[in-house]
């Protein structure tokens, strides 16, 4: 067991190394100094207290969506609709934060939960279609993502557009609903702590609760689940709901803790980052935390890389792509190791 974990971790590390190596080659070809650029990447992700906190902020939504994706993949559903759930979650969190009058603190909590509820409701549609009629979740995910995005556009540009804002965004939420910062000087909000807790709770849910047990059984072997009287349909539905809730929370943290309103297309693909994190973490919920840290470093560090070294941050996409490709072939490294051993 431990050996398996070690092997997984080693695979991920090798994948990351290869990714950076290929990135370095491309950088070199493009006429940059890779060492300098990677240096500025790390530096701007961890260079000082302040930027480190920024990196953690970037990590926040990815942990939520990563946990959501892990749940989906654990139950063997290929649902990639976190991006849409995130947007819908941001809408419901915003509505509660903007329309309701509640005491500070409580307001933030209720708005936050409302965000999760929004994502949950958005998960209900594909979840119900899948559980009741067997409608393929991949199709609904792809379509619902776009529907959610355009609907959020409608919210930001029409329904709740702030006429005073120069950018496409909604009204600000009430100050009572803002998720407070950990301390006034730092940009990091308590949402981060909640995200970490939510990720760990997802792990706990999967490995230490009845629901999680059933999810894993259904994901690994639906026939057994049927015989063991575990309802596959309701397990699927639960997964859709919990996962939707988590993805919705991702949107809520962004609205309540970062933007304080819904900004037009604020997500640069946090839903997809979550899927990537789940894949890098090999569906281990606890590994979501380092995986999303890694992605956050790429996202956050790439800004410093651009400002400091003038590299287009698409280079980060290239590196991310190569990392993923090399992470997909653990077999290759094992074979390679064996080959090296045999040669000696």
């Amino acid at each position: 067991m431990i050996r398996e974990y070690l092997r997984d971790a080693a695979t991920s590390l090798i994948a990351i190394l290869i990714g950076f190596l290929v990135g370095a080659i491309i950088l070199q070809v493009a006429g940059y100094d890779p060492l300098y650029i990677y240096g500025s990447l790390i530096n701007s992700a961890f260079g000082n207290y302040y930027v480190t906190l920024n990196t953690l902020t970037a990590m926040m939504p990815i942990m939520f969506t990563g946990a959501a994706a892990t749940l989906m993949f654990k139950s063997a559903l290929f649902f990639i609709g976190m991006e849409g759930q995130l947007y819908i979650g941001s809408i419901t969190a915003f509505l509660v934060g903007h329309l309701l009058q509640l005491p500070a603190g409580l307001h933030a909590i209720i708005a936050f939960l409302a965000g999760g509820l929004g994502g949950l409701l958005w998960g209900l549609v594909p979840g119900y279609l899948r559980a009741r009629f067997g409608v393929n979740e991949t199709v609904t995910a792809i379509m619902l993502n776009w529907i959610a995005i355009h609907f959020t556009d409608y919210i930001t540009q029409y329904a709740f557009a702030d006429p005073k804002a120069t950018i496409a965004r909604t009204y600000k939420i009430l100050p009572t609903a803002v998720i407070p910062k950990i301390s006034p000087e730092v940009p990091l909000s308590w949402g981060f702590v909640v995200a970490v807790i939510a990720t760990i709770l997802t792990g706990y849910l999967l490995y230490n609760t009845v629901i999680g047990y059933e999810i894993r059984v259904v994901g690994l072997n639906p026939h057994v689940a049927r015989v063991a009287k575990i309802s596959i349909e309701s397990t699927y539905l639960r997964v859709f709901l919990i996962s939707g809730f988590l993805a919705g929370l991702a949107g809520a943290t962004m609205v309540l803790g970062v933007f304080n309103s819904i900004v037009y297309r604020f997500s640069p693909g946090y839903g997809w980052d979550g899927i990537t994190a789940a894949l890098i973490a090999r569906n281990n919920p606890y590994m979501i935390i380092p995986a999303s840290l890694f992605l956050a470093v790429l996202r956050s560090g790439s800004i410093g890389m651009m400002v400091g070294a003038g590299v287009s941050n698409e280079m980060i996409l290239v590196i991310q792509g190569v990392i993923l490709i090399s992470a997909a072939v653990p077999e290759a490294y094992i074979l390679l190791a064996r080959y090296v051993k045999a040669r000696r």
Binding site: T209, V210, Y213, L220, H223, V224
Partner: protein, 489 residues
């Protein structure tokens, strides 16, 4: 015809299957390959048919050394194998399956379906098989699948036909005609290797018998010189003792099934008015060739399938039914999960704090208890179930089901694919349970098993119980007729 010299096979997981087997196959003979489960018969033949590569050893065909990289290479030497697990694509039609891989072509690209059909029909005439060529394989009963499988191999013009336990899915009557087909093939010049663990069959059909035991050749003997006792001694060292059943007078009816009508997946009735009852302190056996409605019948009883007519009455002390499914790897266990998590499958809701969180300590205690009580050989309870041997997996399933504490135990093919020791263990366990007052419904396709341990026996054919009697009252012939549908009592 061919010889295999000093064949070793070690699987990647470290299992040693063959430790230096030498085998000669003579042109035109019918060679029996006899041995218990795990003796290495199938592995040896998979190597000969190119599906597996030997760890060490040489294969010679007609004196020439050959290296098979794939079954295709073996086929090009005229060697074909009919596997025990069907190698048919379930979603394809029979004809598609038969021609797959050696399709007759019109031009370079198109398949000549009419020629294919003619050729296969020719083969069917030769063998006497009757299969609907345009039916989807998934919808066929087991016997039909077996025929399709054999037709598929014959279609490839093979000179050496390897059959792996070909009769396990056939009725006794079908076996008879199947043997005739084999004889006809041998007359036509086809060499046949017949893998079996049934001594009677080996004696009946083969010319020469090679007995394997634990990856080694135990002996080679001409069939005319062989006796059942001799072969049995070669196969197994431990003499099996018949199970002694203490007298119990069955009393209370725990399971009553009355006039049950159940539909299959395709919507047609497959259980057509089955009625029987299982009493405390007895094993009630339902014997039949697979595909006669057993699966649906059991599923209806345990509540996985709706039934249209009739009723199922369970008078058990527990709401949970103990059920040992026919296939432990796909229905009984989650192979990737550790033993301890498998030990609570289906009863996991009982191991909780409150209603939600699983009480890990309680699970560990429970798992350890099962492991020690039923002597399940496992490194520890955190080992994934896939690393357990088949026998231990089955013990785990049975142990878990018994821990449900139900009066009624439903077991389906409980010893399929198990070695002798595990088989004996399981059968003895079932008898003990019965003697202690449990009601056991045993659904099996194994005649010996049914006769050995059940008290009463019902034979199922085409969705109906066609004969019911005390197990000791059945003769083999009567059973054969009932199972084959030639008799209805």
């Amino acid at each position: 015809m061919g010889e295999m010299v000093n064949i070793h096979k070690i699987y990647p997981d470290g299992t040693v299957a063959l430790r230096g087997v030498n085998l000669d196959i003579y042109e035109g003979e019918m060679l029996g390959l006899l041995g218990e489960n795990g003796a290495g018969k199938t592995t040896l033949m998979k190597i000969l048919s190119g599906l597996l590569k030997p760890t060490r050893g040489v294969i010679r065909i007609k004196g020439k050394e050959v290296k098979f990289r794939s079954p295709k290479d073996a086929l090009s030497y005229g060697i074909g194998m009919v596997h025990q697990h069907f190698t048919l694509v379930p979603q394809f039609t029979v004809l598609e399956n038969i021609v797959l891989g050696s399709e007759p072509k019109v031009n370079k690209l198109m398949i000549d379906w009419s020629r294919a059909e003619e050729e296969v029909k020719e083969l069917m005439k030769l063998t006497g098989f009757k299969v609907d060529l345009n039916a989807k394989v998934a919808s066929l009963p087991v016997g039909m699948k077996q025929m399709a499988e054999i037709l598929k191999v014959l279609y490839r013009n093979i000179r050496l036909l390897i059959l792996d336990e070909p009769t396990s899915a056939l009725t006794p009557i079908e076996v008879k005609s199947f043997f005739n087909v084999l004889r006809k093939l041998r007359e036509g010049g086809v060499t046949i290797v017949f893998i079996t663990h049934k001594i009677k069959e080996a004696l009946e059909i083969t010319d020469r018998i090679v007995v394997l035991r634990k990856g080694l050749v135990e002996g080679v003997i001409s069939t005319t010189e062989a006796t059942p006792q001799l072969l049995a001694r070669m196969m197994v060292k431990v003499e099996t003792k018949p199970i002694i059943k203490p007298e119990v007078s069955p009393s209370r009816e725990v399971l009553v099934v009355e006039d049950l009508w159940v539909r299959g997946d395709d919507g047609r009735y497959v259980v057509k008015g089955a009625s029987f009852c299982v009493r405390e302190g007895e094993i009630y056996g339902i014997l039949g060739v697979e595909g006669n409605g057993q699966k649906e019948l059991v599923e209806a009883i345990i509540g996985l399938r709706r039934y249209d007519r009739g009723r199922v009455l369970v008078r058990s002390n527990s709401r949970l039914l103990a059920y040992v499914p026919p296939d432990r790897t796909t229905e009984g266990l989650v192979l990737e999960m550790p033993v301890c998590e498998n030990s609570i499958l289906g009863i996991h809701k009982m191991f909780t704090f409150g209603k939600l969180a699983i009480n890990t300590r309680k699970v560990v205690v429970h798992a350890n208890e099962l492991v020690s009580k039923y002597s399940i050989a496992t490194p520890n309870i955190r080992t994934p179930a896939k690393y357990l041997s088949g026998g231990n997996q089955q013990r785990l399933v049975i142990a878990r089901e018994l821990s449900k504490g139900s009066d009624l135990l439903i077991v389906v093919n409980p010893t399929r694919g198990l070695d002798i020791a595990s088989t004996n263990y399981v059968r003895k366990l079932l008898v003990d349970l019965r003697s202690n007052g449990k009601a056991i419904l045993l659904v099996t396709a194994d005649v010996d098993e049914a006769l050995e341990i059940s008290d009463r026996l019902g034979v199922i054919y085409n969705g109906r119980i066609t004969g019911e009697d005390l197990a000791m009252n059945f003769t083999e012939e009567r059973l054969g007729l009932l199972m084959g549908g030639a008799l209805r009592e």
